[in-house]
Amino acid sequence: MKKKSKCIDIIIYAVLILFGAAALFPVIFIAASSLMDESEVIRSYVVGDMDFHIIPRSFSLNGYLEVFLYTPAYLMKFWKSMLLSTVILAGQLVISCLGGYGFAKFSFRGKNVIFFFVIILMMMPLQVTLVPNYIVFERLGLIGSYASVILPGVFSTFGVFLLTQFFSSIPNSIIEAAKLDGANQIQILCRIIVPYAKSGVASLCILNFIDTWNMVEQPLIFLKDSTKYPLSVFLANVSRENLSISFVCGILAILPVFLLFLYLKDSLISGIENTNLK
């Protein structure tokens, strides 16, 4: 009996490793290809028959030199995208903490109706919300400025929903105790709720950052100037021009998200679990 279950365990491990490798494979490929010499990239992937190989035959850091040391424009774009994502994240955090606390711990007339709208808005695919946003921003003359990307991102209802779910699991007794100690609402929010639901706030951070770092449709439609595109869109353009550099740029784009993922992976997973409407 034990032998059989061990056999099954081995099979399970094998299948899991297979799928895990499939999940990781593209990143490994891009990392490896970024270390290839430019001529090798052209030989293998651009011209004629594709010669797919993982281990670079000609190891060269040329691409990295080009992107990181020779052309400051790449890194400038990186920092600009970083700024954009951080601004949106900061706005989202403020609005969602306030709103999440309000929806979770208070009741007022119409709260359930409004919360229903929050859920509906959260679930709508991008294409539905992009069109109204575009029409309004065009009338306001904001098309082409970063505000047209930042504002919908800051007021996106996903953060409110997520934090409401997290905050509602905070026991009321703690809040009552704080009120007895004379804390006003804002102090309660800052000193009690947010630290208590730290993993919830962290999960909002990583989910939102990933959303804005990887966003492609919004900049394409709202920003007309191709020099204003963030890194995520820029990558697509680079790969058309120069494949070997696009591998390095790909690594550059993956880097912040990868690091954030390593730090906050547990918060990410708990955030996904908490979007469960159950």
């Binding site: 999940a23 594709m50 709103g99 695919p125 992009l130 209802t157 492609v216 449709e217 790969s239």
Partner: protein, 293 residues
């Protein structure tokens, strides 16, 4: 006297709560609700922009257009094929992980990883795999199957499905795992004592008890399937092969030629479809006896 005091306090509380929610509500109104109503109004006006009320003529026109029909059909086809596929794959992996063998956390994290990757980086890889002389065709040749064109042919549909599964299965695996973990272990132990085999346990215990979660996972997967436009756009461009021309492509292309009315109509129709879907999900959830929000 006391009653009046508590109701005053209660009103103050409720006002405070409302004030906390106010920034979010204002944002919602200004950036989503009001523009949406504007959009709704526009979808009923004439296309030359002089605002004449056209009734449902615009809708009829869009519904009749071949592009929209192709897009809607393809989107529906994609949902019908990709969503069950990803649910099955995720459930399968979740079941494997459920045993909580030693690498549980590691594998769980590993599977979520594709979700965070920037699509543009990953698209490079898939372009190379699925190119005419790419890896997949080499492998097929090696196995003796004739290689076909993947990117510019109707097979592009399956490329998109594979991409969608690769990216989103992590998300579904987490949801499936939380569904599986919600089933009390005592059920399985009782079944073991009763001598039920593993497959019987699966069908009689696991399957029915994860049903309510499966509804939710299905709806979430359907909504996530709309996001697959990003991969389709980056891999195939604005005007891909006929088999993957989806609603999002329709919308995007109308953006390019700034055909607002068509865009408005399209957005409203997608909205109605998803809205109905969410309503159905809510109804089913309430029916299966779960507590209210």
């Amino acid at each position: 006297m006391n009653k009046m005091k508590t109701s005053k306090l209660a009103r103050k509380e409720s006002l405070t709560g409302f004030l906390f929610c106010l920034p979010s509500i204002i944002g919602m109104l200004v950036f989503f609700v009001v523009p949406f109503c504007l959009c709704l109004y526009m979808s009923f006006t004439e296309s030359t922009g002089n605002g004449r009320f056209m009734g449902l003529k615009n809708y009829a026109e869009v519904l009749k257009s071949a592009a929209f029909r192709l897009a809607a059909g393809n989107t529906l086809k994609f949902i019908v094929i990709a969503v069950p596929a990803i649910i099955l794959v995720s459930l399968f992996i979740a079941l494997l992980l459920y045993k909580k063998l030693r690498g549980y956390h590691f594998f769980r994290t590993l599977f979520v990883f594709p979700l965070v990757l920037p699509t543009a980086s990953v698209v490079l890889f898939f372009q190379i795999i699925f190119a005419e002389t790419g890896l997949l065709n080499h492998v097929l040749e090696f196995l003796g199957i004739t290689p076909t064109e993947w990117i510019n042919s109707p097979n592009a549909f399956y490329v998109l499905v594979i991409l969608y599964i690769w990216k989103n299965s992590g998300y579904n695996i987490i949801l499936s795992l939380s569904a599986l973990n919600a089933i009390p272990k005592s059920y399985y132990e009782a079944a073991d004592i009763d001598g039920a085999s593993k497959s019987v346990q699966f069908f009689k215990i696991t399957f029915p008890l994860i049903m309510p979660y499966t509804f939710f996972i299905t709806v979430i997967s359907i909504i996530n399937s709309f996001k697959s436009f990003r991969e389709a756009f980056l891999l195939f461009g604005s005007h891909p092969n006929k088999s993957i021309y989806m609603l999002q492509h329709f919308m995007n292309n109308n953006f390019q030629n700034l055909n607002y009315i068509r865009l408005a109509v399209g957005a409203i129709m997608i909205f109605i479809a998803i809205f109905l879907l969410i309503l159905i999900m809510f109804r089913l959830r309430v029916k299966s006896g779960d507590t209210e929000l």
